[in-house]
């Protein structure tokens, strides 16, 4: 049918009333244009759908999948830390961690979130800003150890803040009151600075890593591998379903066994209570560290959750430096504890023999200056044994002067002074063994002959750390085998050996025995039935003149040292105690004695138990051979 007319009736109508201008014929071409326009508009709409559904469906399918599938981390528990007997020192406990996902993050939500969770808005914005360049799927750990109030806040605002998610996490539980804090260290969220260093490149933001102590040293062992699960979520982030097929379970971290003996550790902790300093106990036969204490200490549990900026500042600003592990970082003058090493050096280098005798009137003149002995009245005739037992300064001034600084430095170097021990803990420091070369290289000055005299009694520029001292004296006690001190049970030893004359070693060890048992300076370390050997040390922090000028003061008081080991003939344990500003060497001796007592008490206890068990076993065996019913076993 042709247009117009489409309707015969309307044609009739128009023919009847042509003058009325009321026919619709005038609009016909325009209606046709409207129809064509409609066709074009519909084709335009269809072209849009063609582009989306036929040309790029895969791109949008992928997007739809990304929308609905989210991968959620399954946090791997960190390995526990055990003592040498397998007792748990550091454990985990479950807690809830709040995660801020960045895929759904809305900037304007930060303020109400910070308010609701009692977080600092400035900090939060800074963290979000710093993450900006990172891929969107990486999330931010917002708050650890969520309180019930936090949980309630997040639950009740789920619809408003889809970016908030809660995951269960394992948290570290450390011994109370900062015990062992320096050995164990603590964990924390990896910082952005750490991520930029090669050591931590393999980690991703949000990972919890060891920051200090063995937590850091053995991070790779302790840290597990986070798993992943794929979940289907709706637009509000609520989980609708879980895809079991793609579940990647987490790999828990491995437990770490230490060489630390928890019993000795706790005794050492108690012995250092209220004092500043350090205690190191090790097995001289292996180098295994049995106890390590540093005081003052800090509470690593505060780091398990998010440590507040105020607490951290307080710890950092403390003049006593609680983070400083004095056992491996405090390099101090060894004082008289250096004398056994001097004696051995003098014998071994052939400078003296054991009969070499010095007369001590209470001091001696060297290079135009009078060097006093600590005993003003003098020790009279002093040979090697008496020299060590009475800690006669005049004797050691004399042999030091005879030996010369080069030989002293060589033997100090031999026992490991001036070097790190290689203990498996981060941030180990080393002491200084001064020598003419050292004076030129580090001080740009020449060596003064008088310095040799000071070094001979462990003063002057000579410094050692407690762990250096423990290793050095242990090596001598073992007759010339220096083991690598270590806290990890499965660490390689790699000992250093030096052929020492056994007779010379015996002379020195006997001298140290005398210190404790023959009315020497270390009488306070005496134990019944145990042959304890030891040496006290009182190390000046500043020269006597300086102390007098300053009018004394606690921080200028002498440091007290004691190094002791037992038993004399076959040493099993060696303990070094540094009692900072403890004034006198003998005051450090009881600390060492307490640890030694604990060690031998425990040994006896175990021995007794073993014997009883053996007796019972023998009895049972006897009963079995006789074919009689076991005594008391019928029930």
């Amino acid at each position: 049918m042709t247009l117009p007319p489409t309707d015969p009736n309307s044609a009739n109508l128009s023919s009847e009333r042509p003058h009325l201008h009321d026919d619709t014929r005038f609009a016909a071409p325009k209606i046709a244009i409207f129809q064509y326009a409609t066709v074009i508009l519909f084709l335009f709409l269809i072209s849009g759908f063609w582009r989306l559904q036929v040309e790029n469906p895969d791109r949008y399918k992928e997007r739809a999948e990304q929308n609905r599938f989210k991968s959620m981390p399954i946090l791997a528990p960190r390995g526990r830390i055990l003592d040498r007997d397998g007792r748990v020192i550091v454990d985990n406990h479950a807690s809830f961690t709040l995660i801020l996902t960045r895929e759904n993050l809305k900037e304007e939500h930060l303020k109400p979130i910070a308010e609701g969770l009692d977080l600092d808005l400035g900090d939060l914005q800074e963290i979000v800003r710093r993450y900006r360049t990172r891929p969107k799927y990486e999330f931010i750990r917002l708050k650890e150890e969520m309180t019930p109030a936090d949980l309630a806040f997040v639950d009740s605002h789920r619809d408003f803040f889809p970016e908030l998610e809660i995951t269960e996490a394992q948290h570290r539980l450390y011994p109370q009151n900062g015990a062992m804090a320096h050995v164990l260290g603590y964990t924390g969220g990896i910082s952005l600075q750490e991520l930029d260093t090669p050591d931590f490149a393999k980690y991703k933001p949000g990972d919890v890593i060891g920051k200090f102590g063995v937590e850091r040293q053995y991070n790779d062992t302790l840290m597990g591998i986070d798993g992943q699960r794929q979940v289907e979520v709706d637009s509000r982030g609520q989980i609708r379903a879980e895809d079991k097929a793609t579940l990647k379970p987490s790999v828990p971290g491995k437990d770490l066994q230490l060489t630390i003996d928890l019993d000795l550790q706790m005794v050492a902790e108690l012995a250092m209570d209220g004092r500043n300093g350090a205690v190191v106990a090790l097995d001289p036969r292996t180098g295994e560290v049995l106890a390590m204490v540093s005081r003052p200490t800090f509470d690593p549990n505060k780091f398990a959750a998010h440590i507040s900026a105020r607490d951290l500042k307080e710890l950092n600003d403390n003049p006593d430096k609680p983070f400083f592990n004095r056992a491996i970082q405090a390099a101090q003058a060894p004082g008289s504890t250096f004398k056994p090493i001097m004696a051995l050096a003098a014998l071994q280098s052939g400078t003296i023999d054991e009969n070499f005798t010095v007369h001590c009137p209470g001091g001696a003149n060297f290079y135009g200056r009078y060097y006093r002995c600590h005993l003003k009245t003098g020790h009279g005739a002093v040979a090697l044994h008496k020299g060590i037992v009475q800690s006669c300064d005049t004797y050691f001034y004399t042999i030091g002067n005879k030996m010369g600084i080069d030989d002293i430095a060589q033997y100090a170097d031999m026992v490991g002074y001036g070097h790190t021990t290689g203990i498996d803990l981060p941030h180990e420091a080393q002491g200084v063994v001064p020598s003419p070369g050292w004076a030129i290289h580090t001080q740009g000055r020449k060596w003064y002959a008088g310095e040799t005299i000071s070094v001979s009694i462990g003063q002057g520029a000579l410094t050692v750390t407690p762990i250096e001292m423990a290793r050095a004296v242990a090596g001598i006690a073992m007759g010339g085998v220096w083991h690598r001190p270590r806290v990890g049970k499965e660490q390689p030893d790699n000992p250093t050996e030096w052929p020492l004359n056994p007779q010379f070693v015996k002379d020195v060890v006997d001298g140290m025995y005398g210190v404790v048992n023959e009315g020497g300076t270390g009488g306070r370390a005496w134990l019944p039935n145990i042959e304890v050997c030891g040496k006290t040390g009182t190390a000046q922090v500043a020269s006597a003149e300086y102390v007098k000028a300053k009018g004394g003061g606690h921080e200028l008081k002498d440091n007290a040292w004691f190094v002791g080991f037992a038993p004399r003939s076959a040493p099993e344990i060696l303990v070094v105690a540094l009692f900072e500003h403890g004034a006198e060497g003998p005051l450090a001796a009881p600390i060492v004695r307490d640890v030694l007592t604990a060690y031998f008490d425990k040994k006896t206890r175990i021995e007794t138990l073993r014997q009883q068990a053996a007796a019972v076993a023998a009895g049972e065996a006897a009963v079995r051979t006789l074919g009689l019913p076991g005594p008391g076993r019928s029930n």
Binding site: T24, G48, L52, Q53, N67, S235
Partner: protein, 363 residues
């Protein structure tokens, strides 16, 4: 003079097409609201459709000429109602679009005003009885339409205001406008753009920008466009199947039973479904245009073409929006989107078309 009116004479083809579209709508509403708070929306929608049919029936007996006679009154009532909405209307989704009628039903005045606009344009252009519209006459008509349009825009409801202008544009085009005036209008519109931008709400401006490049602000204004396109695109050629559209089912798609129902449909039924559905809409428009062609005189023709213009602009704005071809303006898709006001207005508009059709042999 008055011939007997028979229900047999209404446009059954048109009605069947429209009811098919409604049925697809109900199915789609059922699919996307399943298991949600508004899971009863599908049978409410059936009730709305039945109510719409009754309204359509009620429109038939009274001659459209009588309706045209009352246009001035209807127009004034509409303006008053729009102002009333502005003052007493309850805020929903930040916009004051409805007057609460009780029972949780909000009457959207601006929906029904569309019908008044259709009648207004028809009456005005019929009264002129000219084959070429004068400039001042055109301006006067434009002013009459732009007043309610401005009130609706103020609500703010840009999409509905645009449908008013669609009716006006088609009416003026049919009445015959000299090409010189077309140029003047285009130039005037171009001048209006910066002024119009000044009056647009921030979110409307954001939508205009995000329409051009939704990826600029994927979490803000571009979110709806991106999610809608994702829904449509992921449907592919044949769709994911009824109730299987993840974008709609997991609520990534905004208001999937209302403004974005066509995206939900496209996700579950694919390109094939989209083409079939648009074909239904196309035939629907063409049937209405045919009724315009068979109208006994200009008033009826203008009414039918007004309805065609209204429905076409609705389809263009809504479907164009979900596909990212048009800015997000938030208007329903006739006969598909859930909601009483939209359904009732659309059926009333069909009533107008049938009213004209029934009288094509009369006079």
């Amino acid at each position: 003079m008055v011939r007997h009116l028979s229900a047999r004479d209404i446009d059954w083809t048109l009605l069947v097409i429209v009811l098919l579209i409604c049925a697809v709508g109900v199915l789609q509403i059922y699919s996307v609201t399943r298991g949600s708070d508004s899971h009863s929306a599908w049978w409410k929608q059936i009730l709305y459709v039945l109510g719409g049919l009754v309204l359509m029936w009620l429109v038939l007996p009274s001659d459209y000429h009588a309706m045209l006679h009352h246009v001035p009154l209807m127009y004034l009532v509409s303006i008053a109602a729009l102002l009333g909405t502005y003052f007493v209307g309850e805020a929903s989704f930040g916009a004051t679009r409805g007057i609460p009628l009780g029972f949780g039903i909000h009457l959207q005045v601006s929906e029904f005003v569309k019908l008044v606009i259709i009648l207004l344009v028809a009456r005005y252009l019929t009264d002129l009885r000219t084959d070429e519209l004068g400039f001042w006459e055109m301006l006067k008509l434009a002013g009459l339409v732009l007043i309610p349009a401005a009130l609706v825009l103020k609500q703010p409801d840009l999409g509905t205001a645009l449908t008013y202008i669609g009716i006006l544009a088609v009416g003026v085009f049919l009445a015959g406008l000299h090409w010189k005036y077309v140029l003047v209008i285009v130039a005037g519109a171009a001048l209006m753009v910066p002024i119009g931008l000044h009056f647009l709400k921030d979110y409307q401006k954001a939508r205009l920008v995000s329409f051009r490049d939704p990826e600029l602000d994927p979490r803000g204004a571009g979110y709806q466009v991106i999610q809608s396109q994702t829904a449509i695109g992921s449907g592919g050629m044949f769709g994911k199947g009824v109730t299987k559209g993840t974008q709609a089912q997991l609520h990534f798609l905004p208001v999937p039973s209302k403004d974005f129902i066509f995206a939900a449909f496209a996700e579950e039924h694919g390109f094939v479904g989209v083409v079939l559905m648009l074909a239904l809409y196309f035939v629907m428009i063409m049937r209405i245009v045919q009724n315009a062609q068979t109208a006994p005189e200009r008033a009826g023709m203008y009414i039918c073409m007004g309805v065609a213009a209204l429905l076409l602009s609705h389809i263009l704005i809504n479907v164009g929006m979900v596909a990212g071809l048009m800015p997000v303006t938030g208007i329903p898709l006739p006969f598909m989107s859930a909601g009483g006001s939209s359904i009732w207005t659309s059926f009333l508009a069909l009533g107008l078309v049938n009213n004209v059709r029934l009288r094509r042999f009369v006079n």
